[in-house]
Amino acid sequence: MNIVEVEDLTFSYGEEKILRGVNFKVSKGEIFGIIGPNGSGKSTLLKLLARGMKGYKGKISLLAKDLNFYKQKDLAKRVGVLPQRTEVSFNLSVEEVVEMGRHPYVSRWRGMREEDMDIVLQSLETTNTLSLKDKSINDISGGERQRVLLARVLAQGPNLLLLDEPTSALDINYQLEIFSLLKKLKSEGRTIIIILHDLNLASNFCDRVLLLDKGNVKSIGEPKKVITSDNIKDVYGCKVGVELKDDNFYIVYG
């Protein structure tokens, strides 16, 4: 089953065309990477899928239903989004932040039910952040913070996760931790669309990737077919070698 179907998606910001006729499909349980140079339209594409921006041409369907026909709360129950940056000026606790993930389910008059609290605890446990729950979101490390924000997304109970560079500010240990978490989520049948700058990570963890070049789809498919030295040279304008050893993927510089 296709979780996401994008047909002929075009988006302009003023005069400038950001996306030009993008087509792709993502099926259930996939980890689908979006790669491409800075300014190629990756974040815009993700925001459009999340309905964080409006005014596109073409068609986006999520779970076999046109994106425009979703109510805001229903969308929040099915799609969890982690934007590139989340700034919090005030000291909310980790638990309070994760509780917000239940907002689409909680009625104003009744408040959180036991069931909602269980899901919050589960999300904290899954992301290995339960021990942080009483700390302030601003007093924890970057890696912990990213996992907490991911816990909030999980608390929404989404079928589809849209993640904008969740690992870009993290050290290699945290990066691997996030990806092993994403694999676990995939094994539970969730679908993940993820923007990545690191081509090694994209190759080793994504089932398929989409390479964007100035708003066009340059290539789409299995990482080893998309991330080739020819494609990288065409899109990024730099010369690198790509090697496969024992099914692991390496980019060789120089």
Partner: protein, 327 residues
């Protein structure tokens, strides 16, 4: 819904409020004590002083403190900005202009029992907010930075008009000055009847939006992805905050500091969760203004000091103390 620590905090806050009211009722030139009242040993004149002069003033101070502190919380949350206060979008400047016009031109009308000064102050507050809001409105949405910037611009513009009017007519300077500094001198049952209902209703509705305010602390984008209708929530919070502030300012003038500092002080004590912060700030703001207003009318008795001076004098050092202690 509340956890144990929060129950204790609220118990303490209610006790502080109770003590503040007792102290306020017992202090004043006439030398009446609360104990005498409980014992029933008051003459009818003393009873009149207590019931018709001190009590309405205490209630008024409580309501104004509640309104300013809770709208301060709401605006800081909505703007995601620690420097926001109830006056940030031009409410005080608009109200000041309205009040100065009423005072300078000696307008002495009553509309539904409401005097021209509070009436024009309230109108000025609402018109200024509407103006700021309209300026920040673009393509079906209101941008928060634009709202702040047009608030500052409108404030400067209206304040200039206020200064101009003050210079043109120096006869009413003292009256205008007291109003601008914030003062509850004119507090009576009439003022209480004017403001209690709008303030309590606006506060109650604001409380219903506490969870949305929490989510907006994560930023508008995240709020949208969590199913919040961000634009609608912004408008509702702006209306409620302006209503609370405008109503308070109409009867008290521009009492500074409470709306900025009480939210911060309470946030240091109970945290940033609006479900707890809003009622805590409301109680704290009420107690704070009741106590400072008592100082304002007794410290140099029989002369009254504008309470705005006291709030800033007491609140500033106390806030710095809390800030340093936390670090």
């Amino acid at each position: 819904m509340f956890r144990r620590k929060e129950e204790v905090v609220f118990l303490i806050l209610f006790m502080v409020l109770g003590f503040s009211i007792i102290i306020a009722l017992s202090s004043g030139v006439a030398g009446i004590s609360f104990l005498d009242l409980l014992k029933g040993e008051l003459s009818s004149i003393e009873e009149t002083i207590l019931i018709d002069i001190r009590l309405p003033r205490v209630i008024l101070a409580g309501l104004v403190g509640l309104a300013l502190a809770s709208s301060g919380v709401a605006f800081q949350g909505l703007f995601n900005n620690v420097m926001a206060d109830p006056y940030i979008i031009g409410i005080s400047a608009g109200a000041s202009l309205g009040a100065v016009i009423a005072i300078n031109f000696g307008l002495d009308y009553y509309f539904l029992g409401i005097g021209s000064v509070p009436l024009l102050a309230f109108l000025g507050a609402i018109l200024a907010t509407l103006g700021v809001y309209t300026l920040a409105w673009k393509n079906g949405r209101v941008s928060i930075p634009d709202l702040l910037l047009s608030g500052v611009a409108i404030s400067f513009f209206l304040s200039a008009l206020v200064s101009l009017l003050m210079i043109v007519d120096t006869n009413s300077l003292q009256k205008v000055f007291y109003w601008l500094m914030g003062s509850l001198t004119r507090g009576s049952w009439t003022e209480v009847r004017m403001i209690w209902l709008p303030i309590l209703i606006a506060f109650f509705i604001l409380y219903l939006y506490a969870d949305k305010l929490n989510i907006i602390l994560l930023g508008e984008e995240n709020a949208l992805y969590l199913g919040v209708n961000v634009e609608r929530v912004k408008v509702i919070i702006l209306i409620l905050g302006s209503l609370l502030t405008g109503t308070a300012v109409a009867v008290s003038g521009v009492v500074g500091f409470i709306g900025l500092m009480v939210p911060h002080i309470m946030r240091l004590i109970v945290g940033a969760n609006h479900k707890i912060l809003l009622p805590a700030a409301a109680l704290g703001g009420a107690s704070f203004l009741i106590l400072t207003d008592t100082l304002a009318r007794t410290i140099l008795a029989p002369t009254e000091i504008p309470v705005g001076i006291i709030t800033a004098l007491c609140g500033g050092p106390f806030f710095l103390y809390l800030l340093r202690k936390r670090n």
